[in-house]
C-alpha cells in the first residue's frame, strides 16, 4: 500500500471522523468536568441538531452550512431547557440519578425526532460529490469545512475559556466547585453557559456527520460511545484533550481495519480507552479523575 493511499483512504477519513467525534467530546468533557456526570443524551441531542438543520435546509432551501448556526442555537436552547426542566432538580442528588435521567432524555429526544422527521435516511444534498485531487490527495470541500469548522469552534471556545470572565468562572467551577462558589461565582450562569456550549457543539457534530454521511434517527446514539472514549482519552475537563482524543479515536477506527478484522472496528475506541485507563487514567492531557 502506497503512502498516498494510506493518507487518502485511512488518514483523511480518520481526521474527518475524528473532528466530528471531537465536537461531541468537547461537550461531554465540559459537562463531565463542571456538572460531574456522564451525559448519555449527548448523541441524541446531536441527532436533533442535525435534523433541525435538515428542516432549515429543506424548508428555505439554503445550504447546510447556512443552517448550521440555526441548528446550534436551537439545540443550545433545547439543552438549556432540558437542564432547567429535568436535570436542575436532581443537582443535589447523587450523580447517578442524573446519569439515569439523561438516558431517559435520550429516549425522549430520539422519539421526538422520529415522530417529527420519521425514520428514513435523509441527506442534505442529493447526489454524490467526488473529491478534488490536490497533489495526489483526495479531499472534498465538505471535509475541509468539517475540520476547519471544528478547529474554529473549539478554538473560539478555548479563547473564551481562557480569556473571558465567564470562561474563567467555568474553569474555576471545573477545578474546584466549592472554592469557586465561595469566591462568588454565579453557579447558575455557569451551568447555563455549559449547556449552551455543549448543546451548540453537539448540534455541530450532528450537522457535520449529516453532511459527511446521511441523517438517521439513530445516528447520534451510535456515536455516543466513541465520543465518550474520546473525552476520557483526552483527559476529562480538557477541551484540547477532547479534540486530541476525538482525532485519535477517529484515526484508530479507520486504521484498525489494517490489522483487525473489520467487524471489530467499533471495538477499537474501547480497546484504546481501556489501555489508556490502565496506564494513564488522567488522560493524555492530564485531566481530572472524578
Amino acid at each position: 500500500m502506497g503512502f498516498l493511499e494510506l493518507v487518502n483512504f485511512y488518514i483523511i477519513p480518520g481526521i474527518v471522523l475524528g473532528s466530528i467525534y471531537a465536537l461531541g467530546a468537547v461537550g461531554i468533557t465540559l459537562i463531565f468536568a463542571i456538572l460531574r456526570y456522564a451525559h448519555l443524551a449527548h448523541g441524541d441531542l446531536a441527532t436533533l441538531g442535525a435534523f433541525v438543520a435538515f428542516a432549515v435546509v429543506t424548508g428555505i432551501g439554503v445550504s447546510p452550512y447556512a443552517a448550521l448556526p440555526v441548528a446550534i442555537v436551537a439545540t443550545a436552547l433545547v439543552a438549556v431547557g432540558i437542564d432547567k426542566v429535568f436535570y436542575e432538580h436532581l443537582r443535589e442528588r447523587p450523580k447517578i440519578i442524573t446519569v439515569i435521567a439523561s438516558l431517559g432524555i435520550a429516549l425522549m429526544v430520539r422519539a421526538v425526532v422520529q415522530v417529527i422527521w420519521g425514520v428514513d435516511s435523509e441527506s442534505y444534498v442529493r447526489g454524490i460529490s467526488r473529491p478534488d485531487v490536490y497533489f495526489g490527495l483526495r479531499i472534498r470541500d465538505r471535509e475541509i469545512y468539517t475540520v476547519l469548522a471544528m478547529l474554529a469552534l473549539v478554538g473560539a471556545l478555548y479563547v473564551f475559556l481562557s480569556r473571558s470572565k465567564w470562561g474563567k468562572a467555568m474553569r474555576a467551577m471545573s477545578d474546584n466547585p466549592n472554592l469557586a462558589l465561595l469566591s462568588g461565582i454565579d453557579n447558575k450562569t455557569v451551568i447555563v453557559l455549559t449547556w449552551v456550549i455543549a448543546g451548540g457543539l453537539c448540534a455541530a457534530a450532528g450537522v457535520f456527520l449529516g453532511i459527511n454521511t446521511e441523517l438517521k434517527s439513530m445516528m447520534g446514539w451510535q456515536m455516543l460511545l466513541p465520543m465518550f472514549a474520546a473525552a476520557i482519552l483526552g483527559g476529562v475537563g480538557r477541551v484540547e484533550g477532547a479534540v486530541l482524543g476525538g482525532l485519535i479515536v477517529g484515526l484508530a477506527e479507520e486504521l484498525s481495519v489494517l490489522i483487525l478484522p473489520s467487524e471489530y472496528k467499533a471495538a477499537t475506541a474501547f480497546v484504546i480507552l481501556l489501555f489508556m485507563l490502565l496506564v494513564r487514567p488522567t488522560g493524555i492531557l492530564r485531566g481530572k479523575v472524578l
Binding site: F86, A101, G104, L107, L225, E263, A267, V271, L274, V289
Partner: protein
C-alpha cells in the same frame, strides 16, 4: 380479550420480571452494596446465556459445544463463566471509580458483544444458538409458562435469600463500610480491592444466571438480545427506581419498570390506527418522561435502602423494654 389471555400475559410478565429481577439483584450487589458502577451488565448476561447455550445445545458443525448436558449444568456453568470473566475485568477496571468504571465496563460489554457477533466457532456468530432445552417445555402453553414461572420464582427467592443473608452478615456490613467510607475501611485493615472484586464477581455470576434463564426461556440466544438498551440500561432504571441498596427494592423495581415498559404499548395502541407506528415512538417518549418524573419525585427509589443500624436498634429495643 379473554381471562385466560390475561393470565397468560401475567405469567409471561412474571417470568420476565423474575429474570430481570435477578439481573437487578446482581447489580444491587455491585452498585447498591459495593458502589461499583457497572454499566456492562449486557456483557455478563451474554456470557451466561451463551455459556449455558453451548453446554446444553445439540452439536453443530463449525462451532464448539453441543454437549447436550442438562440445563441445570448449563445454568451452573453460566454462573461460573460469568464470574470467571468478571475476575480479570474486575482486576483491571475496579480501580477506577464511578463514571470511569461505567465507561470501562460499557467498553468491555461492547467488546464481548462484538466477539459474540463475529466469532463463528464460538457462538455461531450473528445467527445465534437455537434449540436449547426449556424446562417444562413439553407441557401445553399455559401450564408450561406457569411451571417455568414457578421455577423462576423459586430461583429468584433462593437468590434473594442468599443475597439478603450475605448483606446482613459481617461481610455486608464491611461492604457498606467500604462503599461509604473507603478510607476508614482501609484504615481498619480491610482489603478493599479484594472485597470489591468479590462483590463484582458475585454480581456478575447472578447476571450470568439471568442470561442463561433468558436463553432457555426463549430456547435460543441471538446477539440481538444483548443490546445495551434492554440488557444494561433497563436494569439500571429498575434498580434506581426500585431503590439501590435494597434487595426487595431491586425486585420491585424490576416488576414496576417491566410492567411500565410492556403495558405502555397497550396504552399507546389506543391512539387512532393511522398513528400505529408513531405510537411506538410516543411510547418511548412516555417511558423517558415517566422516568424523569420518578427520578424527580422519588429519587431514592420506591423502597429506599434500609438504615440497617437503626433498624437493628429498633428491633432490639422492644426486647429490652420487655425485659424491663
Amino acid at each position: 380479550m379473554e381471562f385466560i389471555g390475561l393470565v397468560n400475559y401475567a405469567l409471561f410478565m412474571g417470568i420476565f420480571i423474575a429474570i430481570y429481577a435477578l439481573l437487578a439483584l446482581g447489580l444491587n450487589i455491585q452498585w447498591g452494596f459495593a458502589g461499583l458502577f457497572n454499566a456492562g451488565i449486557a456483557g455478563f448476561f451474554a456470557v451466561g446465556a451463551y455459556t449455558s447455550a453451548i453446554i446444553t445445545s445439540a452439536a453443530a458443525d463449525g462451532r464448539i459445544g453441543g454437549f447436550e448436558l442438562p440445563f441445570l449444568v448449563g445454568w451452573a456453568g453460566a454462573m461460573v463463566a460469568a464470574g470467571l470473566i468478571a475476575w480479570p475485568i474486575g482486576k483491571i477496571c475496579l480501580r477506577f471509580r464511578s463514571d470511569y468504571l461505567a465507561i470501562a465496563t460499557i467498553g468491555v460489554a461492547e467488546i464481548i458483544r462484538l466477539v459474540i457477533k463475529s466469532e463463528e466457532a464460538l457462538t455461531n456468530s450473528a445467527r445465534g444458538i437455537t434449540g436449547l432445552p426449556r424446562p417444562f417445555g413439553d407441557l401445553p402453553y399455559v401450564e408450561s409458562q406457569a411451571a417455568f414461572l414457578l421455577l423462576m420464582i423459586a430461583i429468584l427467592f433462593v437468590a434473594y435469600l442468599l443475597v439478603e443473608r450475605q448483606f446482613n452478615s459481617p461481610w455486608g456490613r464491611m461492604m457498606r463500610a467500604i462503599r461509604d467510607n473507603e478510607l476508614a475501611a482501609r484504615a481498619m485493615g480491610k482489603d478493599v480491592e479484594y472485597r470489591r472484586l468479590q462483590a463484582f464477581i458475585f454480581g456478575a455470576a447472578l447476571m450470568g444466571l439471568g442470561g442463561a434463564l433468558f436463553a432457555h426461556f426463549n430456547r435460543s440466544i441471538t446477539p440481538e438480545a444483548i443490546d445495551p438498551m434492554v440488557a444494561t440500561f433497563l436494569v439500571w432504571i429498575m434498580l434506581i427506581l426500585g431503590g439501590a441498596g435494597n434487595n426487595r427494592g431491586a425486585i420491585l423495581g424490576a416488576a414496576v419498570v417491566w410492567i411500565i415498559w410492556s403495558v405502555s404499548e397497550i396504552a399507546t395502541d389506543q391512539l387512532p390506527h393511522e398513528y400505529a407506528v408513531k405510537a411506538k415512538y410516543i411510547r418511548l417518549f412516555l417511558i423517558g418522561l415517566l422516568l424523569q418524573l420518578v427520578l424527580r419525585f422519588r429519587p431514592e427509589g420506591l423502597l429506599p435502602e434500609p438504615l440497617r443500624g437503626d433498624q437493628g436498634a429498633s428491633r432490639r429495643e422492644p426486647k429490652s423494654s420487655a425485659r424491663v
